[in-house]
Point group: C2
Chain length 325, copies 2
């Protein structure tokens, strides 16, 4: 009912009487009044004037299903949205839904994560009201080995989405951190359930630091879009921009089963290329020069012995950013 | 208590009195008598003679935890065994256990599967008393793309185990069907949960047709070890042989992160090589000549245009076996 009242207020740019709403929705005026108050508590600015009724003045920075649904116009991604005020981890919630058969494109998004996860078993700080913590359920017909390509594509699209909404010069640290002014503003954690013959589902978990005013001393390389630009952003417009870009490119990827057509765009935005990098592999660390991205998404590097190597995964530090100076 | 009574009988090659067992185990003679009867119901042949007591004559073809544990002498695989008289699918049960943190090497084995699964969404007939339906939980530090290598290795070891126990000339149809006299006697279904940076767990599901006397008309390409040899086998000795071979090779694989050292053995046993094959890929069917197995486990084929191609997954028919003549 709250969502219906909100939709009603949005449809009318001017005042609308409680009586008219109550008749149209078929509920009592007391119920209308109760739901208006709930919306106010959530941050919606609603003016009320005697005899004229209610008027929506401003919508807060919420990322509820109704707010996101009302601004996106795409067919698969986000068609079904599960919003939570708080959740342990959107990836874990998405996994549970995927196991129960949730369809491709289902989006899990939360205002706060209590146990947000990063890559390589790290935690991810996910406070309330300031970031985008979301996980997309995808069911492409690809093999487990191809899944890393999807993650590059999602990183590219989020990099572009951030650039479009904020005007900031965002870059991709291979494979898929988004970096602004040398600090990390976004991370992607991709998980999957698969057979060797094909992926069952992929969970694309994305965390974006949007409006944080500061980070703890334990996170010296983290930043937010607000810290870098001096402005704050409505999170849902970044979600919208990403979903729209990714839906187009993801559909094309599913057809072509290749990221070749996206590689030039990815490389243009990739801060890792043409830098010295430190690679922490399972068999030890080494320094190399990042030369190119291969068609399969791996990083092609040249090591100290002028040997070309392919890097498929693991931790890669880029000279000049984060702690590797 | 039943397992303790059984262990006691096994320790003594001769008669042992109910009184002695009841004193040693600290339970009543009535309880001993009850458990002896349970064992008899399971097929254990136990002779009882007045004043002399009980004597174990023969152990049936059971694959319970205690029977398997009593014959294997390895350190990781099968250290923890979950036996079920029946289960929907050992892979599904193993996945549940893995999610709850079951350790590497945990074995799930069932006398019967109600909803056995094969590759590519097929079902797998798993009747009671005649086959080996088991799933191993593995937690190697590899990437999702490397998991296919493990499956080749398991296929090789099961091929060798069957050969050792039965003397039959078993062969591998790439990637991991085991074929005897041109018919399928064993299949492997590998499933995984992974992040891009590494596998969380791999479920290696193995089904072996051991003692079936016939197959339905809907399974014209299936066979059992008994059908091909005219003998029946105690299933636990095939389980034992496989676990022992695989533990050694799996530990080596985890060290080397490569199947190169196993490739010659694999190729020697692979019926696919040097045959014309039909490949059903996502973009259509084509005929090619199977030339080699690459270090990453993929099949190297030469197509009609003399072009070399790599086949990573999908359905491959080999001319001369199954329905591809």
């Amino acid at each position: 009912m709250k969502d219906k009242v909100l939709a009603f207020l949005k449809e009318h740019n001017d005042y609308i009487s409680g009586e008219e709403i109550s008749i149209k929705l078929g509920v009592t005026r007391a119920s209308i009044w109760k739901n208006i108050n709930k919306l106010k508590e959530e941050g919606y600015q609603i003016e009320s004037a005697t005899k004229r009724g209610y008027r929506l003045i401003d919508t807060p920075d919420v990322i509820t299903e109704s707010e996101i649904s009302s601004i996106i116009n795409i067919h698969i991604l986000g068609k079904k949205i599960h919003y939570y005020d708080k959740v342990d981890s959107t990836n874990e919630t998405a996994k549970l839904l995927a196991r129960k058969g949730a369809e491709e494109g289902t989006l899990v998004i939360a205002d706060r994560q209590l146990m947000g996860k990063g890559r390589l078993g790290k935690t991810w700080d996910s406070p309330s009201g300031t970031g985008i913590w979301m996980s997309l359920i995808l069911r492409p017909k690809i093999t487990p080995g191809q899944a890393s390509q999807l993650t590059l594509l999602a990183g590219l699209n989020m990099c572009e989405a951030i650039g479009r909404v904020t005007g900031l010069d965002s870059q991709i640290k291979w494979p898929n951190d988004i970096v602004v002014n040398g600090k990390k503003a976004c991370g992607i954690l991709t998980e999957m359930s698969a057979e060797l013959d094909g992926v069952n589902y992929i969970i694309l978990g994305i965390g974006v630091n949007v409006n944080m005013k500061s980070f703890g001393e334990d996170l010296p390389h983290a930043t937010s879009l607000a810290l870098e630009s001096g402005k704050t952003y409505l999170r849902r417009y970044i979600v919208k921009e990403f979903l729209q870009l990714f839906e187009t490119d993801y559909m094309r990827y599913k057809d072509e089963k290749s990221i070749v057509v996206f590689l030039e765009r990815y490389k243009k935005n990739c801060i890792t290329l043409n830098h010295d990098i430190k690679i922490i592999a399972s068999d030890g660390e080494y320094i190399a020069y990042a030369k190119d991205i291969a068609a399969d998404g791996s990083l092609i590097v040249i090591d100290d012995n002028k040997q070309e190597r392919s890097v498929f995964s693991g931790e890669v530090s880029v000279r000049g950013i984060y702690d590797y100076i």
